[in-house]
Amino acid sequence: MLLRSPAMKQMLPAMPLATLFLVTFVVPLLVLVFLSLFRTPQFLEMGPDQYVRFFSEGFSLQVLFDTLVLGVEVALLTLLLSYPLGLAYLAASPTGRTIITFLILLPLLTSTVVRTFAWIVILGREGIVNSTMLSLGLWDQPARLLYTWGGLVVALAQIQLPLMALPVINSLLRVDRNLMKAAEGLGASQLRIFFTVILPLTLPGAIAGWLLVFAAAVTAFITQTLVGGGRMILMPLYIYQQAMGVQEWPFAAALSLIFTVAVIGIVGVIGAVSRRFMRGIDAA
């Protein structure tokens, strides 16, 4: 019998964790699905009302859409910043590389609240950007940077940058240097080498980072609420308000499920499409 096989016996140490996951992870998520199917917070009657509400209300759809757009914009910005950093890493001396690694790990190891707080200091009315611009005479009055969409995108991009920079650098390191030398020897410009050699070969790393940043940015409750402000409602705050604020439990459950499906769906589809696309490159 298969269950008595040595392979099963070898997996025995994993069973305590498997049991814990079943009880405190799988079952609660199933309960979440179940509870989202009730019509009222009193849990009396069942019906798809919460989902109907979500898809018929323009407001809820708009919140979901805004959140996903935020994720896309943040991920694109980190991509734009990671390549120059990665190319500098490639060209750097061993000491330079250690410094860059340290710089990348530094924000990864500082608490999210701390990093968000830093951005409040940078973007605030008396913050760094405003005081620099004012003292240079470029602006004649402080601009509102905190609680704006642009401020949020930049702050999130900086906060999530390590998630993109690490995979991009890893895949840059794997590109055969001879390919770049060959292209250079054949007279290609650096820009052309970047777009025809480096970028296609490092795409897997870029996509891996893109997905990590996207998933992190859309769920970044703290940064969204503090840098975006309480009036900018995105999915995490929306779920929190519905659950803890007005105690609309079924609607909060439905919201978090829709959000989860949307995020995992996007990550899954992009992952699958890119894998297929990569296979095409390998074959060529």
């Binding site: 392979a7 498997a18 992870f25 998520l29 500098a88 609240v113 701390v114 605030g124 940058l161």
Partner: protein, 269 residues
Amino acid sequence: MQRSPGDHLYFGTVGLLAGFTMLLLLAPTAVVLIISFTGGITLKFPPPSWSVRWYLELLKSDEIIQPAITSLKVAVLATIGSATLGTAAALGIARSKTRLARLLDSLFMSPMVLPAMAFGLSLLLVFNMLAIRLSLATLVLGHIIICVPFVIRMVGAAVQQLNPVLIDCSISLGASRWYTFRRITFPLIRRGIVAGCFVAFLSSFDNVPISLFLADARTEVLPIKLWAILEGSLDVRVAAVSGVIVIATLIGLILAERLGGLNRQMQSR
């Protein structure tokens, strides 16, 4: 080799952007450390004067120290729990090729992909349904699930590099399984465990989406408390807390690097 003007422009742009990005990576941490020594009462930058008043203020702020202690307790317990269960699980599945092992691996990794708020909310709803009162224990339970993937990933990588012949040798020479684990397996995967613990501790200490639902007035944790403070006012004491966290993390990083070569673990991700 002669470079064309276009190439000079390319190198210049890349260099400039890279420099800017490095500044961007460093700036927030530096800014937090600088502003925490401000003598003023606002977050004005650059600080009008220097002092350690906000650190002294912090020592008197029980409403911040209490959550910090709770956070440390939760993080220590969650790290111990996830390191024990996660290391055992990694030993069980990391080298197994069976379908069940792959399935378990995906299950244990899924908290990393799943938006954690959904999980936090679901745990709260289940505890409510079963009339289980929220406590430190329920909070730790939620944190363990979130921390386990880091342990499994790092320990799993170490287990995969482990030569199985060594274990077979030890067993066939008459050593017990526990003795083999203590003397052969554990020393060889220690680096993975240390790195896993380090990241698990940080992610528990920093966790928001789970604590947001599972922490109540008695188990208030630091990130949520700081968030609540900043929602209301731009309190400079948060800068001092941040300064403490940054310095503590740097010390922890150096310790973990000494113990387990964390740098290598991070880069092998």
